[in-house]
């Protein structure tokens, strides 16, 4: 079982404001509680298999030019840099 405080803490870390407690915290709580079913799957000794792609199957690590200047599609940029707000005001 997880607590609603833990959920609120993670939301804060993810920069998500949970102003509507019922809509976010309570429903997320319900959803995560459902995942407790995984405890009865009996998979503790199971190995995790991950797909592997051989290096030989990767495309060449080379620059592929793009026709448009993508940065010009942003609203906030200066030269070749993305503009962002100040880290602290």
């Amino acid at each position: 079982m997880v607590s609603e405080e833990e959920i609120e803490h993670v939301s804060k870390l993810m920069r998500i404001e949970v102003d509507d407690h019922k809509e976010y915290v309570e429903k997320v709580h319900m959803m995560i509680d459902y995942f407790d079913i995984l405890d009865s799957a009996g998979v503790d000794s199971e190995e995790i298999s991950m797909p592997e792609i051989a290096l030989s199957n990767l495309r060449e690590d080379e620059h592929i030019p793009f026709d448009d200047k993508l940065i010009e599609k942003l609203n906030h940029y200066k030269g070749t840099y993305v503009r962002a707000p100040k880290m602290s005001s």
């Binding site: 993810m14 920069r15 429903k27 997320v28 079913i37 199971e46």
Partner: protein
């Protein structure tokens, strides 16, 4: 103009000069204008479609080489990029996003002279299974407007079912093609993982999602696969299908094939009408010479929890890029500090996306990963072993696509667990990378039921052969809209 024809029939009619692409596309646009106010299958319609069709007719008349689609109108789920067109992912976050490039599937279909008639509605960022989580309002089921069409590719399914286009592309992360195909009575296909390039598909859960077609017939699905399947240097997860022709030999039948009936998908929680339709389909397959036996996949009962844990984790990572600087809705920088700026930007996500991002931050986090994320990966591994063992004995597996009939709009939206369980029969194919298809099978009280067949990886061709055999046993009424 008969808008109800299949893709292959359309191509034949245009090739032989019986109809023109322009007339067909114009009639399709008229159809959209007359029914889409009620259905809301589309988020945007291509206002150049008729001009594009006219160009294709000119090519035909002047004897130039014409692509295999001959101007066939196709709808595209609004999470695939079409250059210079809006791609919103049904989210306010991307409401003004104009894609700067084509997804690989779009490039391939353009080369074959397909016409993209419009972008189809969906659950926001493909998170949902009813289309109710679209930021622009739900699509409606053409069989009964009070009911959900399924999701997340609900707009795609509705557009094919209600004759607003001939075929559509959706994406299937946990059933998002097969579920709405079942609810709207179309064919819906989730290919082997890696068979179709995901380049240009807005990412949700990369390790399991796939693009897949919606069509009126199984043959049309095979035709679409011929156009879009295969290796793509822009997607390293794609597999070499050796230019397989999925259409040739589709009618070979299924005599002598062994089909496993998945026990865990036929028991608790299944609606009696769905169970009865599935048993009927099994009897028909036996009548065609298939050998059907029950098989148990123990991990199925944990599959939904594993699926949501894995997909939320990947979504949490994928959606982190929407910081309003590189991606996302635009508002001025002045007056904000960095963190509050991003928090404000993220309020553009709807409630379901926000919930899944929170889960995606929680389940893989330090102190919780062992209980949730790693355990989910272990369930995925064990389920894959179980299904691989099943395919040592069986050629195909069968189950209803969805264990229940379509339900009313609003009926389940406040109950996340009951929504979770609608996915129980579809997530297995995603978690294990296997190809699966939903075939329209029957109509009960005016609502469609689809049957799902699953095959081993890279056996997409034989899966389509089996689906075609089952499809030939079915005669369904016409959609009432």
């Amino acid at each position: 103009m008969n808008l109800k024809i299949s893709a292959l029939d359309y191509i034949q009619e245009v090739k032989t000069g019986n109809i023109s692409a322009e007339d067909f596309v114009a009639a399709t646009i008229e159809r959209i204008q007359s029914v889409d106010d009620k259905l809301h299958a589309f988020l945007s319609v291509n206002d150049k479609a008729i001009d594009q069709a006219r160009e294709i007719d000119k090519k035909i008349k002047s004897g130039q080489k014409v692509g295999d689609c001959f101007g066939m109108p196709i709808s595209i789920k609004d999470n695939m990029c079409i250059k210079d067109s809006k791609t919103t992912c049904a989210s306010k976050m991307l409401e003004d996003f104009v894609a700067p490039y084509d997804a690989t599937v779009i490039t391939e279909l353009k080369q074959q002279d397909a016409i993209f008639i419009g972008k189809a509605n969906m659950d926001e960022f493909a998170m949902g299974l009813t289309t109710e989580f679209s930021a622009y309002g739900p699509s409606k089921n053409p069989w009964n407007l009070d009911y959900v069409p399924g999701g997340s590719s609900g707009g795609s399914a509705v557009s094919v079912s209600a004759f607003e286009c001939i075929a559509s592309l959706g994406s299937d992360t946990g059933g998002s093609v097969r579920n709405p195909a079942s609810f709207c009575s179309t064919v819906g296909y989730k290919p082997t993982y890696g068979l179709i390039s995901r380049y240009g598909l807005i990412s949700y859960a990369n390790s399991i999602e796939q693009i897949g077609p919606f069509t009126r017939t199984v043959k049309d699905t095979a035709f679409m696969l011929n156009l879009i399947a295969g290796l793509d240097p822009n997607d390293n997860t794609t597999v070499d299908n050796k230019n397989e022709d999925y259409l040739s030999g589709i009618d070979v039948g299924i005599e002598g094939k062994k089909i496993g009936i998945i026990k865990e998908m036929m028991g608790e929680g299944i609606a009696p009408e769905v169970l009865s339709a599935t048993k009927d389909a099994i009897a028909k397959l036996e009548g065609l010479g298939a050998i059907c036996e029950e098989i148990s996949l123990d991990m199925v009962k944990y599959s939904v929890a594993a699926y949501y844990t894995i997909t939320a984790t990947e979504a949490g990572s994928n959606l982190a890029r929407y910081d309003n600087l590189r991606y996302g809705y635009d508002f001025p920088l002045e007056g904000y500090e960095f963190n509050s700026y991003i928090s404000k930007a993220r309020r553009k996500f709807g409630p379901e996306v926000t919930r899944r991002m929170i889960i995606g931050g929680f389940v893989p986090s330090a102190g919780h990963a062992g209980k949730y994320f790693l355990k989910a990966l272990k369930v995925k591994s064990k389920l894959t072993k179980e299904i691989n063992e099943a395919f040592q004995k069986f050629d195909f597996l069968i189950a209803p696509t969805v264990p229940i009939l379509p339900f009313k709009i609003g009926e389940k939206i406040d109950d996340p667990i009951s929504l979770f369980l609608v996915d129980i029969n579809t997530v297995t194919a995603n978690l294990t990378g296997k190809p699966a298809i939903s075939i329209p099978y029957s109509i009960s009280n005016g609502l469609p039921i689809g049957i799902q067949l699953i095959a081993d990886s890279m056996n997409d061709k034989s899966l389509l052969q089996a689906a075609y055999a089952l499809e030939q046993t079915v005669q369904l009424p016409e959609v009432p809209i």
